[in-house]
Symmetry: C2
Subunit: 264 residues, 2 copies
């Protein structure tokens, strides 16, 4: 049976309550959805290198969580004559690769596919299934929680604020950009009693300064910044197994985009 | 002669073209400007610890670049019953410390006090005095430029994207949050021909991904993320000397807030 790229997307949308939505960033960013799918790659972000590796695998559909052209809506007017944009677009066109973004829908899946991956890998326990922000965990120290994040999510370095020996039993959880402007990260630490917030990104005058003042004034609070890519890659890895049961016979692989930064 | 805290602020405002402005975040965040000034501390951000150290020095005016209550406008309604907010406010009140923010005015001083500190420390050369974004530098490798940032700005770790051996002669420069959403950081690398952008913060799906794609497609571009605090502390250190010439006889010290994060 011939399965088109559009068939793949339709299969995904059937699993998301209320989908498709009139407004969503989850659109085709390149390619032709009427083509027969030859293989699927999932990734945090279809970088130039991820596209090259997908082509090597014979895949012609990349399911990316984040935009491919450096802005939320993948607007390209401002990039028309940009050599980096042109090189990436050419790579996609020459290899007939279609890119579809799976951001809003995966977050709105029940449970949130990105958050659920963190919850399961970190061994967090759900308090209220309707609340994806607050969890419990069998008590451990902040130092142990940091190590668990590194081990279970494969992260080399974390940026953290917090007393290594503080006890952590209640965790606030964000992925990606979520809550980066301080609200609602800070109220989780405050009103909702989280000991620690784990997040992808955070603006550097908000939650980190709240946690720093908390520690300095004798109130045990902590913050663990995973990095945006590190916090959402596991959720895109989980798309593989989730999709394989719905599309048997199609090769589906995860290619991690990995953290864009190196530390010097 | 009795010098009040308000006199100090008036002295500063005389140096800023067009000041005071009707709208600015540069307001008093705590205290009483009619008091006689007993000493001044400048800092990137008046954290709990910086306030304690200022009190130890006998200073009753802290000049802070960033907000003290974790949001751009220092709004506090959402923090009314928050124990961290209460502890910080109590520390300020009990010690009669006044906090004034010096953000917009220092950036709008000619030259921008924050950017100028980076330019002088990093040995950058101005191309156009009206353009505070683009500079030249006697050619060095990306690796050498990273090391210079660490050495000259006292930073332990940088997050970077770029080929260590690439030649850098043209530098795009931002501090703090500037350009973090990708525009205008990316056009500096693209249309304006910067080899490297040096910045305080950057959202992790914008400039870093542009630089990563550039490198992968054979175009030498680089990004150095200093950290928000690291990028603006030198500019607040420079306030001391700048202000000492205008307020002889008043003790003025810089207390670095330092990077809020530690790396694990």
């Amino acid at each position: 049976m011939r399965t088109t790229i559009q068939d793949v997307i339709d299969t995904i949308l059937q699993e998301v309550p209320g989908a498709p939505f009139e407004e969503s960033v989850d659109t085709f960013k390149a390619g032709d959805p009427s083509l027969e799918v030859t293989g699927i790659v999932t990734t945090f972000l279809a970088s130039y290198e991820v596209i090259q590796r997908a082509v090597d695998l014979g895949a012609n559909l990349i399911i990316t969580h984040e935009p491919i052209y450096y802005n939320h809506l993948d607007e390209v007017d401002w990039l028309t004559n940009d050599p980096v944009y042109q090189a990436k677009r050419q790579l996609l066109e020459e290899n007939n690769v279609t890119v579809w973004r799976f951001h809003d829908y995966w977050h709105l899946h029940k449970p949130d596919g990105i958050i659920n991956a963190l919850v399961t890998r970190l061994g967090l326990q759900i308090i209220d299934p309707k609340d994806k922000r607050l969890y419990t965990v069998p008590e451990l120290t902040f130092e142990e929680l940091c190590q668990r994040c590194k081990d279970k999510l494969g992260i080399s370095n974390l940026r953290v604020v917090g007393n290594p020996h503080m006890k952590c039993g209640r965790i606030g959880l964000f992925a990606g950009w979520g809550g980066a402007m301080g609200e609602p990260q800070i109220p989780l630490l405050s009103k909702r009693g989280a000991d620690v917030v784990i997040c992808g990104e955070t603006a550097e005058w908000t939650t980190c300064e709240y946690a720093r003042d908390a520690v300095a004034s004798g109130i045990d609070k902590g913050l663990i910044v995973l990095g945006h890519a590190n916090s959402e890659e596991p959720g895109m890895q989980d798309v593989v197994k989730w999709l394989q049961t719905r599309l048997p016979g199609i090769e589906i692989n995860h290619i991690p985009a990995k953290d864009p930064f190196r530390l010097v």
